[in-house]
Amino acid sequence: MRRLLIEGLLKAPLTEARPRDDDAMLAELAERLQKSVRRALGHSLSIRQVDAGSCNACELEIHALSNVYYDLERFGLRFVASPRHADVLLVTGPVTKNMREALERTYNATPNPKWVVAAGNCACGDDLFGGYANVGGVEKVIPVDLHIRGCPPTPTALLQGLVALMERAAAQS
């Protein structure tokens, strides 16, 4: 373990070793976030993720936001365990009818001001999953402030989206 830790100290962080495109985008994001988030919500933004029927691939990419390449927390964005601590609900999936009530209750448990992000094509209302078991999109159940498309959206797209939301939130306040 000592060796791993020492190597970790000596080696350049992975966070900088990402491809240039992503680098530029994330650096830009970091800057934009700092401005807008501080204005609306101080230094941080708490996100509660709700899976409303996803195939779980959206969750995998949301998870990836916390790895060292994206390191979500350096932007002041963090995931929280309870909707009562959240500013943002990040919702995935076509909203199955079996999850509808849980989503509504989670929304109601989130204090104002709050924002809802629909992440992934399913949550955005794509009709791949129609039929008797799905409501078909987050917007049909609770108001949505931002749609992040993709199947699943890439971690970079998710970061971009959260920034766009921040700008809108700042404009509101």
């Binding site: 060796r3 195939c55 779980n56 691939a57 995998l60 995931f79 849980a102 999953f129």
Partner: protein
Amino acid sequence: MSFATTLLELGARIDAHQTGPRVAVDREVWWRVALEVAQGNVTLLALWSDGRDVHMAVLDEVEGEVSVVSLACPNGRFPSVGRTHPPAVRFERAIVDLYGLVAEEATDMRPWLDHGRWGVRHPLGAAKPDAAAGLPYAFLPAEGPPLHQIPVGPVHAGIIEPGHFRFHANGETVVRLEERLGYVHKGIDGLMRGAPIARAALLAGRVSGDSTVAIALAFARAVEAAAGVEAPPRAQILRAVMAELERVANHLGDFGAICNDASFSLILAHCGALREQVLRCANAGFGHRLMMDRVIPGGIARNLDEQGAANIRALVAHIRRYLPHLVRVYDNSASLQDRTVTTGILKPELARQYGAGGYVGRASGRAFDARRTLAYPPYDTLRFEVPARTAGDVDARVWVRIDEITQSLSIIEQCLEKLPNGPIAIAMDAALAAAVGQEATTLVEGFRGDVLAWVRLGPSGTIANAYIRDPSWLQWPLLEAAIEGNIVADFPLCNKSFNCSYSGHDL
């Protein structure tokens, strides 16, 4: 005499079924098969319905053969298999919910996928409108004065899929855990009916996103077998590359996450980086980080170029160099071992009875691996081992994953070495047009275990019916058994070591 031979003597072979025998039987033979399954002579793989018949897929582990036993239900009833073989219970409850068939003398009559929210009962059978007011659910009781209940979910504290867990605890010790699932039921059986094959393939790839390659592969292989065609050799090899990349990515993610659930975040950070490297490599090579929609009926959707292959080779070398450091940390950290060793033990008998696949089965002595036992291409030409252990605890499930990563890396290298040139897909239209009503059942090894797919082709390039059984169906009930007698605080650790899919189960 193999099970299939006996079966063929007792029932009528369905000629439309192109892989292994599917045999139509009467109620008596159905019941006899149920007893065979209960006695452990054959392993129950899945139990499902197409609305008219009920089908039971069983595996003869000695012969490495999958047979399907079918019973027509003209009066809407079939003898319950769950009555003698508990692993069948949830399958039957799902059949009752979706199709309105009656499992005679079933031991558990509670609805399973149907939470009373659909606005319709038995949506795939004789559908009846319903108030959608929600059905009450009676959890199984546990008795004893100091017991208390802990309800968890469906919305959990982390970034995980939804499901409800009901704990009965005596102080810190779990006396009973009962799962209630079905929250992410999307009705995939119904959406598959009559769907054009391209759309059905999209659905198959989204049954459980973490296994998108494996499930799309099981589905594609079933469609190809039903149509009597095979994907070209280059596609077969590249499918294996993708399937193994998926396995490596998931095992790395799980290894990190399990350690993190024991509050050891160092390994999570490193595994998270490795996993990200796998996904980026997949994206560069195949054009999608999770390789979704890359396996299609007829072949694959995207070729791997020289650069992509070189990236993958470099990735393999990198993981091979890097992972042993992490494994050493895992092995040498007493605080971590203290949490994983002897925690959440799954007994070998239960693993066998439930036909538990993947690391769940292999950590409890059931060394079944569809890649080995059924040896579908290209695995019939590859050298690899099937790591197995017997301790059955969280630690054993971690080790199986670690050992499997090593095997997968070697498989990927072998595949790239023997990668032939040539087309990556064949046109399916003519074969499909000539194969209306044909069927096939396939088993493919995903990272979590064996995925079963059954398809029946419809007219003009559609799917008449399809059924996909994620390995989670047979692993979820085992989690309930493994947690018994452990402390509540170890549940996340046990749960992560199983890492069952909610979406793959709820369909």
